[in-house]
Symmetry: C2
Subunit: 198 residues, 2 copies
């Protein structure tokens, strides 16, 4: 549609998560209608973010500094490490403001079918910290999926060798604001099994 | 979330049509996870498209050449002009491959509430062509909205002064593959009113 530069832009936009050809064209048109006020600033922001981005060598977070602003924050509890699958999970917990410790981003889950083994997961920094004896508790905040569960069990095997370390996992149950009749059986079983005195 | 460059990228992504904070973060993370293979190529494609983009001085299409590839195509029928609201409408008709003439992109519809008057619509090129007497038929392909209808009537008033000019409008009715029971009353009334021998 009108020149290879435009077609290339639409093609690359179409690869973004949640995008199809239709939304790619819509966004391309939106940007191209105002090249100076819409397209150029976004291209510039991408370039700047791409130049500034660092992967935290300690926890695996994406940030503009290494160590990231969480790992270098003296107020964060370094003895409390929350293990998450992705940077997106870390960001979600940070937005909620519910974790006062630090993180370890695995960068995925064990998945033999997808060829992801233990060596592909980012745990070395966590193990180093455990060896140093500076960690008091590890919270496993992995997804409630088959891969998340098998990754959790593999991690627990490795963590149980550290004496005096508390290993916990996030609770499963009915999400806030969620109606019971739309939940799957697994969630209902977990919620019922983990019931507490009211 | 992690540095002002990343925050700025998420903010600008969140302004795109169809985006919210959630999808902006998701796309930002997708791009930032692979800065060299995902983010950089897209930023480059945006810059190139921004530099190459031209608005066709004849029809108003967005293209990398002016006049656009449609207006400069000797095989297109210059005597048959299809009037559309937006470049997106033009692209949709081109993808369908159903129009062998040329276009006139108004760039919007009359909308007193939004402060869009006749002087804001791009019709001068069309009127010039009409004065030259080179146009045989004008097809009005405007949206079936209040604004589209008022724009169409305003245009018809101006076009009716040209003798011998055929003015037509796209048909309204049941969309292909569309079930009747999900259509609104207006569409049903139009489809019934414009019924043809089977």
């Amino acid at each position: 549609m009108g020149g290879q530069e435009i077609e290339q832009l639409i093609r690359l936009l179409g690869r973004l998560p949640g995008f199809g050809p239709r939304s790619a064209r819509r966004v391309a048109l939106y940007l191209l209608r105002e090249p100076h006020t819409r397209l150029a600033p976004l291209a510039r922001a991408m370039e700047r973010a791409g130049e500034a981005i660092r992967t935290c060598s300690s926890c695996g977070n994406l940030d503009t500094s290494d160590p990231c602003h969480i790992c270098s924050d003296p107020l964060r509890d370094k003895g409390l490490v929350c293990v998450v699958e992705t940077v997106g999970d870390l960001w979600a917990l940070e937005r909620a403001g519910v974790h006062r410790g630090v993180y370890q981003v695995l960068g995925g889950t064990l998945s033999p079918l997808a060829g992801v083994g233990p060596e592909d997961l980012n745990v070395s920094a966590l193990l180093t910290r455990l060896h140093e004896g500076s960690v008091r508790e590890v919270i496993l905040a992995l997804g409630a999926t088959v891969e998340g569960a098998s990754t959790m069990h593999w991690l627990m095997d490795r963590l149980e060798t550290y004496e005096g370390l508390t290993i916990s996992r996030v609770a499963q149950g009915v999400p806030m604001g969620g109606a019971l009749d739309v939940l799957d059986d697994g969630t209902l079983a977990a919620a019922l099994g983990a019931r507490r005195p009211a």
